[in-house]
Symmetry: C2
Subunit: 253 residues, 2 copies
Amino acid sequence: MKAAPEREVDRSVSQTVKAQLALRDQILSGSLRPGERISELQAVETTGASRTPVRMALVRLEEEGLLEAIPSGGFMVKAFSERDISDSIELRGTLEGLAARFAAERGVSARELEPLKECLAAIDELLRQVPISVDAFSSYVTLNARFHALLTELSRSPPLIRQIDRASALPFASPSGFVMAQSALPEAQQILIIGQEHHRVVIDAIENREGARAEAIMREHARLAVRNLRLALRNRTHLDLLPALALIKAATD
Amino acid sequence: MKAAPEREVDRSVSQTVKAQLALRDQILSGSLRPGERISELQAVETTGASRTPVRMALVRLEEEGLLEAIPSGGFMVKAFSERDISDSIELRGTLEGLAARFAAERGVSARELEPLKECLAAIDELLRQVPISVDAFSSYVTLNARFHALLTELSRSPPLIRQIDRASALPFASPSGFVMAQSALPEAQQILIIGQEHHRVVIDAIENREGARAEAIMREHARLAVRNLRLALRNRTHLDLLPALALIKAATD
DNA sequence: CCCTCCGCTATTGTATACATAACGTATTCA
DNA sequence: TGAATACGTTATGTATACAATAGCGGAGGG
Protein backbone atom coordinates (compact mmCIF):
# COMPACT_ATOMS: atom_id res chain seq x y z
CA MET A 1 0.00 0.00 0.00
CA LYS A 2 1.84 3.01 -1.22
CA ALA A 3 0.93 5.99 0.88
CA ALA A 4 0.39 9.06 -1.19
CA PRO A 5 3.22 11.49 -0.55
CA GLU A 6 1.13 14.20 1.00
CA ARG A 7 -1.63 12.17 2.54
CA GLU A 8 -1.42 10.97 6.10
CA VAL A 9 -2.77 7.44 6.34
CA ASP A 10 -4.18 6.31 9.64
CA ARG A 11 -3.54 2.61 9.81
CA SER A 12 -5.18 1.98 13.14
CA VAL A 13 -8.64 1.52 11.64
CA SER A 14 -9.67 0.35 8.23
CA GLN A 15 -10.16 3.03 5.64
CA THR A 16 -13.67 1.79 5.00
CA VAL A 17 -14.74 2.24 8.59
CA LYS A 18 -13.01 5.59 8.79
CA ALA A 19 -14.83 6.78 5.68
CA GLN A 20 -18.15 5.47 6.94
CA LEU A 21 -17.82 7.27 10.25
CA ALA A 22 -16.67 10.48 8.62
CA LEU A 23 -19.51 10.48 6.12
CA ARG A 24 -22.10 9.66 8.74
CA ASP A 25 -20.85 12.56 10.80
CA GLN A 26 -21.11 14.84 7.83
CA ILE A 27 -24.67 13.74 7.18
CA LEU A 28 -25.84 13.94 10.76
CA SER A 29 -24.11 17.18 11.53
CA GLY A 30 -25.81 18.75 8.57
CA SER A 31 -22.72 19.43 6.48
CA LEU A 32 -24.51 17.46 3.84
CA ARG A 33 -28.09 18.57 3.53
CA PRO A 34 -30.98 16.19 2.93
CA GLY A 35 -31.58 15.67 -0.77
CA GLU A 36 -28.09 16.75 -1.61
CA ARG A 37 -26.14 14.56 -3.95
CA ILE A 38 -23.02 13.15 -2.42
CA SER A 39 -19.98 13.26 -4.64
CA GLU A 40 -17.52 10.43 -4.42
CA LEU A 41 -14.66 12.67 -5.35
CA GLN A 42 -15.57 15.14 -2.67
CA ALA A 43 -16.01 12.33 -0.15
CA VAL A 44 -12.55 11.06 -1.05
CA GLU A 45 -11.11 14.45 -0.23
CA THR A 46 -12.96 14.96 3.03
CA THR A 47 -12.45 11.44 4.37
CA GLY A 48 -8.90 10.87 3.23
CA ALA A 49 -9.69 7.39 1.98
CA SER A 50 -9.59 6.40 -1.66
CA ARG A 51 -12.58 5.65 -3.82
CA THR A 52 -12.95 1.95 -3.12
CA PRO A 53 -13.40 2.25 0.65
CA VAL A 54 -15.52 5.35 0.13
CA ARG A 55 -17.82 3.42 -2.14
CA MET A 56 -18.10 0.62 0.37
CA ALA A 57 -18.97 3.14 3.04
CA LEU A 58 -21.61 4.68 0.78
CA VAL A 59 -23.19 1.29 0.18
CA ARG A 60 -23.25 0.63 3.92
CA LEU A 61 -24.81 4.00 4.64
CA GLU A 62 -27.41 3.36 1.99
CA GLU A 63 -28.33 0.05 3.59
CA GLU A 64 -28.33 1.86 6.90
CA GLY A 65 -31.01 4.14 5.53
CA LEU A 66 -29.12 7.42 5.62
CA LEU A 67 -28.47 7.54 1.90
CA GLU A 68 -30.60 6.83 -1.09
CA ALA A 69 -29.36 5.52 -4.40
CA ILE A 70 -29.96 7.78 -7.38
CA PRO A 71 -31.22 5.76 -10.37
CA SER A 72 -28.81 7.40 -12.74
CA GLY A 73 -25.95 6.64 -10.38
CA GLY A 74 -24.48 7.84 -7.14
CA PHE A 75 -26.14 8.58 -3.84
CA MET A 76 -28.01 11.39 -2.17
CA VAL A 77 -28.70 12.17 1.46
CA LYS A 78 -32.09 10.83 2.32
CA ALA A 79 -34.75 13.27 3.40
CA PHE A 80 -37.27 12.39 6.08
CA SER A 81 -40.67 13.81 6.78
CA GLU A 82 -41.89 14.35 10.31
CA ARG A 83 -44.21 11.42 9.89
CA ASP A 84 -41.32 9.23 8.74
CA ILE A 85 -39.60 10.03 11.96
CA SER A 86 -42.56 9.52 14.25
CA ASP A 87 -43.29 6.26 12.46
CA SER A 88 -39.69 5.21 13.04
CA ILE A 89 -40.05 5.90 16.72
CA GLU A 90 -43.24 3.90 16.95
CA LEU A 91 -41.63 1.16 14.95
CA ARG A 92 -38.72 1.01 17.30
CA GLY A 93 -41.06 0.96 20.26
CA THR A 94 -42.94 -1.95 18.78
CA LEU A 95 -39.73 -3.86 18.29
CA GLU A 96 -38.55 -3.04 21.78
CA GLY A 97 -41.90 -4.21 23.07
CA LEU A 98 -41.28 -7.55 21.42
CA ALA A 99 -37.79 -7.63 22.94
CA ALA A 100 -39.20 -6.92 26.39
CA ARG A 101 -41.76 -9.67 25.96
CA PHE A 102 -39.11 -12.13 24.85
CA ALA A 103 -37.02 -11.19 27.86
CA ALA A 104 -39.94 -11.69 30.21
CA GLU A 105 -41.05 -14.96 28.66
CA ARG A 106 -37.61 -16.46 28.37
CA GLY A 107 -36.52 -15.42 31.82
CA VAL A 108 -33.72 -13.18 32.93
CA SER A 109 -31.41 -13.70 35.88
CA ALA A 110 -31.03 -11.09 38.58
CA ARG A 111 -27.44 -10.71 37.53
CA GLU A 112 -28.46 -9.70 34.03
CA LEU A 113 -30.81 -7.06 35.34
CA GLU A 114 -28.07 -5.51 37.45
CA PRO A 115 -26.68 -3.12 34.80
CA LEU A 116 -30.21 -2.08 33.86
CA LYS A 117 -30.91 -1.10 37.43
CA GLU A 118 -27.67 0.80 37.67
CA CYS A 119 -28.68 2.73 34.59
CA LEU A 120 -32.02 3.44 36.15
CA ALA A 121 -30.45 4.76 39.33
CA ALA A 122 -28.04 6.97 37.41
CA ILE A 123 -30.88 8.47 35.43
CA ASP A 124 -32.85 9.03 38.61
CA GLU A 125 -29.91 10.96 39.95
CA LEU A 126 -29.79 13.19 36.88
CA LEU A 127 -33.50 13.88 36.82
CA ARG A 128 -33.47 14.97 40.42
CA GLN A 129 -32.27 18.45 39.50
CA VAL A 130 -35.02 20.74 38.28
CA PRO A 131 -34.59 22.19 35.75
CA ILE A 132 -32.04 19.84 34.28
CA SER A 133 -28.78 21.32 33.01
CA VAL A 134 -27.60 20.88 29.46
CA ASP A 135 -24.70 18.71 30.62
CA ALA A 136 -26.99 16.53 32.68
CA PHE A 137 -29.33 16.22 29.76
CA SER A 138 -26.45 15.11 27.61
CA SER A 139 -25.59 12.43 30.16
CA TYR A 140 -29.23 11.47 30.28
CA VAL A 141 -29.31 10.85 26.55
CA THR A 142 -26.28 8.58 26.78
CA LEU A 143 -27.64 6.65 29.73
CA ASN A 144 -31.03 6.32 28.13
CA ALA A 145 -29.52 4.89 24.98
CA ARG A 146 -27.56 2.48 27.13
CA PHE A 147 -30.68 1.40 28.95
CA HIS A 148 -32.49 0.70 25.71
CA ALA A 149 -29.52 -1.21 24.32
CA LEU A 150 -29.27 -3.37 27.44
CA LEU A 151 -32.99 -4.05 27.40
CA THR A 152 -32.75 -5.12 23.78
CA GLU A 153 -29.95 -7.51 24.65
CA LEU A 154 -32.15 -9.23 27.21
CA SER A 155 -34.30 -10.64 24.44
CA ARG A 156 -31.39 -12.94 23.48
CA SER A 157 -32.67 -12.88 19.96
CA PRO A 158 -29.93 -11.93 17.50
CA PRO A 159 -32.32 -11.22 14.62
CA LEU A 160 -34.43 -8.97 16.79
CA ILE A 161 -31.42 -7.18 18.24
CA ARG A 162 -30.09 -6.61 14.77
CA GLN A 163 -33.39 -5.26 13.58
CA ILE A 164 -33.73 -2.92 16.52
CA ASP A 165 -30.24 -1.61 15.86
CA ARG A 166 -31.26 -0.82 12.31
CA ALA A 167 -34.52 0.74 13.42
CA SER A 168 -32.61 2.90 15.87
CA ALA A 169 -30.48 4.37 13.12
CA LEU A 170 -32.91 7.20 12.59
CA PRO A 171 -34.06 7.94 16.11
CA PHE A 172 -30.69 7.62 17.74
CA ALA A 173 -28.43 8.67 14.95
CA SER A 174 -27.65 12.23 15.80
CA PRO A 175 -24.37 12.63 17.65
CA SER A 176 -25.27 15.97 19.10
CA GLY A 177 -27.90 18.65 18.80
CA PHE A 178 -29.80 18.29 22.02
CA VAL A 179 -32.57 20.38 20.80
CA MET A 180 -34.99 19.84 23.54
CA ALA A 181 -32.61 20.94 26.21
CA GLN A 182 -31.88 24.12 24.31
CA SER A 183 -35.47 24.96 23.72
CA ALA A 184 -36.02 24.46 27.43
CA LEU A 185 -39.58 23.35 27.23
CA PRO A 186 -41.32 23.29 30.56
CA GLU A 187 -43.04 20.03 29.70
CA ALA A 188 -39.77 18.42 28.68
CA GLN A 189 -38.51 17.27 32.02
CA GLN A 190 -41.92 16.01 33.05
CA ILE A 191 -41.89 13.78 29.98
CA LEU A 192 -38.45 12.50 30.87
CA ILE A 193 -39.69 11.63 34.33
CA ILE A 194 -42.68 9.74 32.94
CA GLY A 195 -40.33 7.90 30.61
CA GLN A 196 -38.16 6.92 33.52
CA GLU A 197 -41.24 5.52 35.22
CA HIS A 198 -41.78 3.38 32.14
CA HIS A 199 -38.26 2.08 32.46
CA ARG A 200 -38.94 1.10 36.01
CA VAL A 201 -42.17 -0.68 35.16
CA VAL A 202 -40.70 -2.66 32.28
CA ILE A 203 -37.94 -4.02 34.48
CA ASP A 204 -40.51 -4.98 37.06
CA ALA A 205 -42.60 -6.74 34.45
CA ILE A 206 -39.60 -8.64 33.13
CA GLU A 207 -38.61 -9.69 36.64
CA ASN A 208 -42.12 -11.02 37.23
CA ARG A 209 -42.16 -12.65 33.81
CA GLU A 210 -45.20 -10.71 32.69
CA GLY A 211 -44.55 -10.63 28.96
CA ALA A 212 -47.70 -8.86 27.88
CA ARG A 213 -47.23 -6.09 30.42
CA ALA A 214 -43.59 -5.64 29.50
CA GLU A 215 -44.52 -5.33 25.86
CA ALA A 216 -47.37 -2.94 26.48
CA ILE A 217 -45.27 -0.56 28.52
CA MET A 218 -42.57 -0.31 25.87
CA ARG A 219 -45.16 0.54 23.26
CA GLU A 220 -46.62 3.16 25.53
CA HIS A 221 -43.08 4.41 26.01
CA ALA A 222 -42.75 4.90 22.27
CA ARG A 223 -46.06 6.71 22.06
CA LEU A 224 -44.78 9.06 24.73
CA ALA A 225 -41.68 9.65 22.64
CA VAL A 226 -43.85 10.47 19.64
CA ARG A 227 -45.79 13.01 21.69
CA ASN A 228 -42.49 14.40 22.83
CA LEU A 229 -41.32 14.72 19.25
CA ARG A 230 -44.49 16.56 18.25
CA LEU A 231 -43.96 18.91 21.15
CA ALA A 232 -40.38 19.59 20.13
CA LEU A 233 -41.40 20.18 16.53
CA ARG A 234 -44.13 22.61 17.51
CA ASN A 235 -41.66 24.63 19.50
CA ARG A 236 -38.83 24.70 17.06
CA THR A 237 -38.08 28.13 15.73
CA HIS A 238 -34.37 28.57 15.33
CA LEU A 239 -34.02 24.89 14.54
CA ASP A 240 -35.36 24.83 11.05
CA LEU A 241 -31.92 24.83 9.58
CA LEU A 242 -30.92 21.64 11.30
CA PRO A 243 -31.48 18.45 9.41
CA ALA A 244 -34.50 16.57 10.63
CA LEU A 245 -32.30 13.95 12.19
CA ALA A 246 -30.75 16.40 14.54
CA LEU A 247 -34.05 16.68 16.32
CA ILE A 248 -34.44 13.07 16.98
CA LYS A 249 -31.95 12.13 19.56
CA ALA A 250 -33.40 14.70 21.87
CA ALA A 251 -37.01 13.93 21.21
CA THR A 252 -36.80 10.17 21.26
CA ASP A 253 -37.26 10.24 25.00
CA MET B 1 -14.76 -0.45 -20.29
CA LYS B 2 -12.59 -2.96 -22.09
CA ALA B 3 -14.32 -6.30 -22.15
CA ALA B 4 -11.94 -9.09 -21.36
CA PRO B 5 -11.31 -11.06 -24.51
CA GLU B 6 -12.78 -14.30 -23.29
CA ARG B 7 -15.37 -13.02 -20.87
CA GLU B 8 -18.88 -12.29 -22.00
CA VAL B 9 -20.08 -9.11 -20.35
CA ASP B 10 -23.77 -8.61 -19.86
CA ARG B 11 -24.37 -4.90 -20.10
CA SER B 12 -28.09 -4.96 -19.49
CA VAL B 13 -27.75 -4.86 -15.71
CA SER B 14 -25.01 -3.48 -13.55
CA GLN B 15 -22.28 -5.89 -12.59
CA THR B 16 -22.91 -5.15 -8.95
CA VAL B 17 -26.53 -6.20 -9.12
CA LYS B 18 -25.67 -9.22 -11.20
CA ALA B 19 -23.09 -10.32 -8.66
CA GLN B 20 -25.46 -9.72 -5.79
CA LEU B 21 -28.19 -11.82 -7.34
CA ALA B 22 -25.80 -14.59 -8.30
CA LEU B 23 -24.28 -14.75 -4.84
CA ARG B 24 -27.65 -14.67 -3.14
CA ASP B 25 -28.75 -17.55 -5.29
CA GLN B 26 -25.66 -19.49 -4.38
CA ILE B 27 -26.28 -18.92 -0.71
CA LEU B 28 -29.97 -19.71 -0.75
CA SER B 29 -29.67 -22.69 -3.02
CA GLY B 30 -27.13 -24.16 -0.67
CA SER B 31 -24.14 -24.09 -3.00
CA LEU B 32 -22.49 -22.16 -0.22
CA ARG B 33 -23.10 -23.77 3.12
CA PRO B 34 -23.75 -21.82 6.29
CA GLY B 35 -20.54 -20.99 8.08
CA GLU B 36 -18.54 -21.40 4.92
CA ARG B 37 -16.09 -18.69 4.09
CA ILE B 38 -16.82 -16.98 0.83
CA SER B 39 -13.82 -16.32 -1.36
CA GLU B 40 -13.76 -13.16 -3.39
CA LEU B 41 -11.68 -14.77 -6.08
CA GLN B 42 -14.08 -17.67 -6.36
CA ALA B 43 -17.03 -15.29 -6.39
CA VAL B 44 -15.37 -13.36 -9.21
CA GLU B 45 -15.17 -16.55 -11.24
CA THR B 46 -18.71 -17.73 -10.57
CA THR B 47 -20.38 -14.36 -11.05
CA GLY B 48 -18.34 -13.09 -13.95
CA ALA B 49 -17.98 -9.65 -12.40
CA SER B 50 -14.68 -8.23 -11.25
CA ARG B 51 -13.62 -7.74 -7.66
CA THR B 52 -15.01 -4.26 -7.10
CA PRO B 53 -18.65 -5.07 -7.89
CA VAL B 54 -18.27 -8.39 -6.10
CA ARG B 55 -17.12 -6.61 -2.99
CA MET B 56 -20.03 -4.20 -3.17
CA ALA B 57 -22.38 -7.14 -3.51
CA LEU B 58 -20.77 -8.79 -0.50
CA VAL B 59 -21.22 -5.66 1.59
CA ARG B 60 -24.85 -5.46 0.55
CA LEU B 61 -25.46 -9.09 1.39
CA GLU B 62 -23.83 -8.57 4.74
CA GLU B 63 -26.13 -5.65 5.49
CA GLU B 64 -28.97 -7.79 4.26
CA GLY B 65 -28.11 -10.33 6.92
CA LEU B 66 -27.12 -13.25 4.72
CA LEU B 67 -23.39 -12.84 5.28
CA GLU B 68 -21.31 -12.15 8.31
CA ALA B 69 -18.00 -10.29 8.32
CA ILE B 70 -15.03 -12.27 9.55
CA PRO B 71 -12.89 -10.18 11.93
CA SER B 72 -9.67 -11.16 10.20
CA GLY B 73 -11.18 -10.18 6.87
CA GLY B 74 -13.63 -11.48 4.33
CA PHE B 75 -17.12 -12.83 4.75
CA MET B 76 -18.80 -16.07 5.65
CA VAL B 77 -22.31 -17.36 5.07
CA LYS B 78 -24.34 -16.67 8.16
CA ALA B 79 -25.81 -19.61 10.03
CA PHE B 80 -29.23 -19.45 11.63
CA SER B 81 -30.69 -21.48 14.44
CA GLU B 82 -34.28 -22.60 14.39
CA ARG B 83 -35.03 -20.07 17.06
CA ASP B 84 -33.45 -17.32 14.96
CA ILE B 85 -35.86 -18.19 12.22
CA SER B 86 -38.96 -18.46 14.35
CA ASP B 87 -38.01 -15.17 15.98
CA SER B 88 -37.69 -13.62 12.54
CA ILE B 89 -41.16 -14.79 11.63
CA GLU B 90 -42.63 -13.39 14.81
CA LEU B 91 -40.72 -10.19 14.23
CA ARG B 92 -42.11 -9.86 10.78
CA GLY B 93 -45.59 -10.54 12.06
CA THR B 94 -45.21 -7.82 14.65
CA LEU B 95 -44.14 -5.36 12.00
CA GLU B 96 -46.96 -6.39 9.70
CA GLY B 97 -49.32 -5.93 12.60
CA LEU B 98 -48.13 -2.38 12.91
CA ALA B 99 -48.57 -1.91 9.18
CA ALA B 100 -52.12 -3.23 9.35
CA ARG B 101 -52.89 -0.90 12.23
CA PHE B 102 -51.48 2.08 10.37
CA ALA B 103 -53.56 1.13 7.35
CA ALA B 104 -56.70 0.88 9.42
CA GLU B 105 -56.09 4.08 11.34
CA ARG B 106 -55.04 6.14 8.38
CA GLY B 107 -57.80 4.92 6.18
CA VAL B 108 -57.70 3.04 2.92
CA SER B 109 -59.90 3.59 -0.09
CA ALA B 110 -61.92 0.78 -1.60
CA ARG B 111 -59.81 1.14 -4.70
CA GLU B 112 -56.67 0.38 -2.79
CA LEU B 113 -58.18 -2.74 -1.30
CA GLU B 114 -59.12 -4.06 -4.71
CA PRO B 115 -55.85 -5.85 -5.51
CA LEU B 116 -55.81 -7.36 -2.02
CA LYS B 117 -59.24 -8.84 -2.56
CA GLU B 118 -58.23 -10.19 -5.94
CA CYS B 119 -55.29 -11.90 -4.27
CA LEU B 120 -57.61 -13.32 -1.68
CA ALA B 121 -59.96 -14.73 -4.30
CA ALA B 122 -57.10 -16.26 -6.25
CA ILE B 123 -55.79 -17.97 -3.14
CA ASP B 124 -59.29 -19.23 -2.34
CA GLU B 125 -59.40 -20.78 -5.76
CA LEU B 126 -56.11 -22.59 -5.19
CA LEU B 127 -57.02 -23.87 -1.77
CA ARG B 128 -60.24 -25.37 -3.04
CA GLN B 129 -58.46 -28.44 -4.32
CA VAL B 130 -57.72 -31.01 -1.64
CA PRO B 131 -54.98 -32.06 -1.44
CA ILE B 132 -53.23 -29.16 -3.07
CA SER B 133 -50.86 -29.93 -5.94
CA VAL B 134 -47.24 -28.89 -5.93
CA ASP B 135 -47.85 -26.43 -8.74
CA ALA B 136 -50.79 -24.91 -6.95
CA PHE B 137 -48.74 -24.65 -3.80
CA SER B 138 -46.05 -22.84 -5.71
CA SER B 139 -48.65 -20.37 -6.99
CA TYR B 140 -49.96 -20.04 -3.48
CA VAL B 141 -46.56 -19.01 -2.17
CA THR B 142 -46.27 -16.32 -4.82
CA LEU B 143 -49.76 -15.00 -4.22
CA ASN B 144 -49.29 -15.05 -0.48
CA ALA B 145 -46.09 -13.02 -0.76
CA ARG B 146 -47.95 -10.60 -2.99
CA PHE B 147 -50.74 -10.24 -0.48
CA HIS B 148 -48.31 -9.49 2.32
CA ALA B 149 -46.45 -6.98 0.18
CA LEU B 150 -49.66 -5.19 -0.75
CA LEU B 151 -50.80 -5.14 2.84
CA THR B 152 -47.48 -3.63 3.87
CA GLU B 153 -47.88 -0.93 1.25
CA LEU B 154 -51.21 0.09 2.72
CA SER B 155 -49.44 1.45 5.79
CA ARG B 156 -48.09 4.28 3.63
CA SER B 157 -45.10 4.43 5.91
CA PRO B 158 -41.83 4.23 3.98
CA PRO B 159 -39.71 3.49 7.04
CA LEU B 160 -42.01 0.68 8.08
CA ILE B 161 -42.20 -0.76 4.59
CA ARG B 162 -38.45 -0.68 4.36
CA GLN B 163 -38.07 -2.40 7.68
CA ILE B 164 -40.57 -5.11 6.79
CA ASP B 165 -38.71 -5.73 3.58
CA ARG B 166 -35.54 -6.25 5.54
CA ALA B 167 -37.28 -8.43 8.08
CA SER B 168 -38.66 -10.53 5.28
CA ALA B 169 -35.22 -11.26 3.94
CA LEU B 170 -34.92 -14.35 6.06
CA PRO B 171 -38.46 -15.70 5.94
CA PHE B 172 -39.08 -15.04 2.30
CA ALA B 173 -35.61 -15.30 0.91
CA SER B 174 -35.64 -18.73 -0.59
CA PRO B 175 -36.36 -18.76 -4.30
CA SER B 176 -37.53 -22.34 -4.35
CA GLY B 177 -37.56 -25.39 -2.17
CA PHE B 178 -41.17 -25.73 -1.26
CA VAL B 179 -40.47 -28.08 1.51
CA MET B 180 -43.87 -28.29 3.00
CA ALA B 181 -45.50 -29.30 -0.22
CA GLN B 182 -43.00 -32.08 -0.69
CA SER B 183 -43.35 -33.42 2.78
CA ALA B 184 -47.10 -33.45 2.16
CA LEU B 185 -48.13 -32.94 5.72
CA PRO B 186 -51.78 -33.59 6.36
CA GLU B 187 -52.00 -30.58 8.65
CA ALA B 188 -50.34 -28.34 6.09
CA GLN B 189 -53.33 -27.42 4.03
CA GLN B 190 -55.48 -26.89 7.07
CA ILE B 191 -52.94 -24.33 8.27
CA LEU B 192 -53.01 -22.62 4.90
CA ILE B 193 -56.78 -22.39 5.13
CA ILE B 194 -56.62 -20.87 8.59
CA GLY B 195 -54.05 -18.40 7.32
CA GLN B 196 -56.34 -17.44 4.49
CA GLU B 197 -59.06 -16.79 7.04
CA HIS B 198 -56.65 -14.41 8.77
CA HIS B 199 -56.13 -12.59 5.51
CA ARG B 200 -59.86 -12.15 5.14
CA VAL B 201 -60.25 -10.85 8.68
CA VAL B 202 -57.43 -8.33 8.41
CA ILE B 203 -58.94 -6.80 5.30
CA ASP B 204 -62.27 -6.58 7.04
CA ALA B 205 -60.67 -4.90 10.04
CA ILE B 206 -58.88 -2.39 7.85
CA GLU B 207 -62.08 -1.62 5.97
CA ASN B 208 -63.85 -0.94 9.25
CA ARG B 209 -60.89 1.04 10.55
CA GLU B 210 -60.41 -1.23 13.52
CA GLY B 211 -56.68 -0.76 14.05
CA ALA B 212 -56.30 -2.89 17.13
CA ARG B 213 -58.11 -5.83 15.59
CA ALA B 214 -56.12 -5.57 12.37
CA GLU B 215 -52.90 -5.59 14.34
CA ALA B 216 -53.92 -8.48 16.54
CA ILE B 217 -54.87 -10.70 13.64
CA MET B 218 -51.53 -10.20 11.90
CA ARG B 219 -49.69 -11.15 15.04
CA GLU B 220 -51.83 -14.23 15.40
CA HIS B 221 -51.06 -14.93 11.76
CA ALA B 222 -47.35 -14.91 12.57
CA ARG B 223 -47.82 -17.21 15.53
CA LEU B 224 -49.58 -19.60 13.21
CA ALA B 225 -46.61 -19.42 10.87
CA VAL B 226 -44.28 -20.23 13.73
CA ARG B 227 -46.36 -23.28 14.62
CA ASN B 228 -46.26 -24.22 10.98
CA LEU B 229 -42.49 -23.91 10.96
CA ARG B 230 -42.17 -26.13 14.03
CA LEU B 231 -44.37 -28.67 12.32
CA ALA B 232 -42.28 -28.61 9.18
CA LEU B 233 -39.07 -28.92 11.17
CA ARG B 234 -40.37 -31.88 13.15
CA ASN B 235 -41.22 -33.67 9.96
CA ARG B 236 -38.09 -32.96 8.02
CA THR B 237 -36.09 -36.04 7.28
CA HIS B 238 -34.46 -35.77 3.91
CA LEU B 239 -34.23 -32.04 4.28
CA ASP B 240 -31.34 -31.80 6.65
CA LEU B 241 -28.95 -31.01 3.87
CA LEU B 242 -30.82 -27.92 2.83
CA PRO B 243 -29.72 -24.66 4.34
CA ALA B 244 -32.05 -23.50 7.05
CA LEU B 245 -33.31 -20.73 4.83
CA ALA B 246 -34.68 -23.12 2.30
CA LEU B 247 -37.29 -24.23 4.77
CA ILE B 248 -38.64 -20.85 5.42
CA LYS B 249 -40.51 -19.81 2.38
CA ALA B 250 -42.70 -22.84 2.70
CA ALA B 251 -43.28 -22.61 6.40
CA THR B 252 -43.83 -18.89 6.66
CA ASP B 253 -47.48 -19.36 5.99
C1' DC C 1 -36.13 34.45 -29.44
C1' DC C 2 -36.69 29.76 -28.47
C1' DC C 3 -35.95 25.08 -29.28
C1' DT C 4 -33.07 21.33 -30.60
C1' DC C 5 -29.07 18.84 -31.36
C1' DC C 6 -24.33 17.96 -30.84
C1' DG C 7 -20.25 17.74 -28.23
C1' DC C 8 -17.75 18.27 -24.01
C1' DT C 9 -17.02 17.60 -19.26
C1' DA C 10 -17.60 15.69 -15.00
C1' DT C 11 -18.81 11.79 -12.32
C1' DT C 12 -19.85 7.16 -11.69
C1' DG C 13 -19.15 2.03 -12.80
C1' DT C 14 -15.70 -1.35 -13.62
C1' DA C 15 -11.29 -3.49 -13.82
C1' DT C 16 -6.88 -4.35 -12.19
C1' DA C 17 -2.45 -3.58 -9.99
C1' DC C 18 -0.11 -3.30 -5.70
C1' DA C 19 0.61 -3.73 -0.62
C1' DT C 20 -0.16 -6.10 3.52
C1' DA C 21 -1.62 -9.29 6.63
C1' DA C 22 -2.81 -13.97 7.76
C1' DC C 23 -2.40 -18.74 7.39
C1' DG C 24 -0.06 -22.92 6.39
C1' DT C 25 4.07 -25.55 5.89
C1' DA C 26 8.52 -26.88 6.43
C1' DT C 27 12.69 -26.89 8.79
C1' DT C 28 15.47 -26.61 12.71
C1' DC C 29 16.54 -26.74 17.44
C1' DA C 30 15.68 -28.35 22.01
C1' DT D 1 9.69 -36.24 18.59
C1' DG D 2 7.49 -32.01 19.39
C1' DA D 3 7.28 -27.28 19.25
C1' DA D 4 8.48 -22.89 17.58
C1' DT D 5 9.94 -19.85 14.14
C1' DA D 6 10.63 -18.32 9.60
C1' DC D 7 9.37 -18.21 5.04
C1' DG D 8 6.25 -18.52 1.28
C1' DT D 9 1.78 -18.44 -0.62
C1' DT D 10 -2.76 -16.82 -0.84
C1' DA D 11 -6.39 -13.66 -0.17
C1' DT D 12 -8.03 -9.34 1.37
C1' DG D 13 -7.68 -4.17 1.74
C1' DT D 14 -6.53 -0.18 -0.85
C1' DA D 15 -5.43 2.70 -4.65
C1' DT D 16 -5.78 4.11 -9.21
C1' DA D 17 -6.45 3.76 -14.18
C1' DC D 18 -9.79 3.30 -17.73
C1' DA D 19 -14.47 3.26 -19.88
C1' DA D 20 -19.08 4.84 -20.38
C1' DT D 21 -22.87 7.55 -19.49
C1' DA D 22 -25.51 11.39 -18.00
C1' DG D 23 -25.94 16.16 -17.55
C1' DC D 24 -24.88 20.66 -19.21
C1' DG D 25 -23.68 24.26 -22.22
C1' DG D 26 -23.07 26.25 -26.60
C1' DA D 27 -24.14 26.76 -31.24
C1' DG D 28 -27.10 26.54 -35.09
C1' DG D 29 -31.49 26.42 -37.24
C1' DG D 30 -36.46 27.38 -37.27
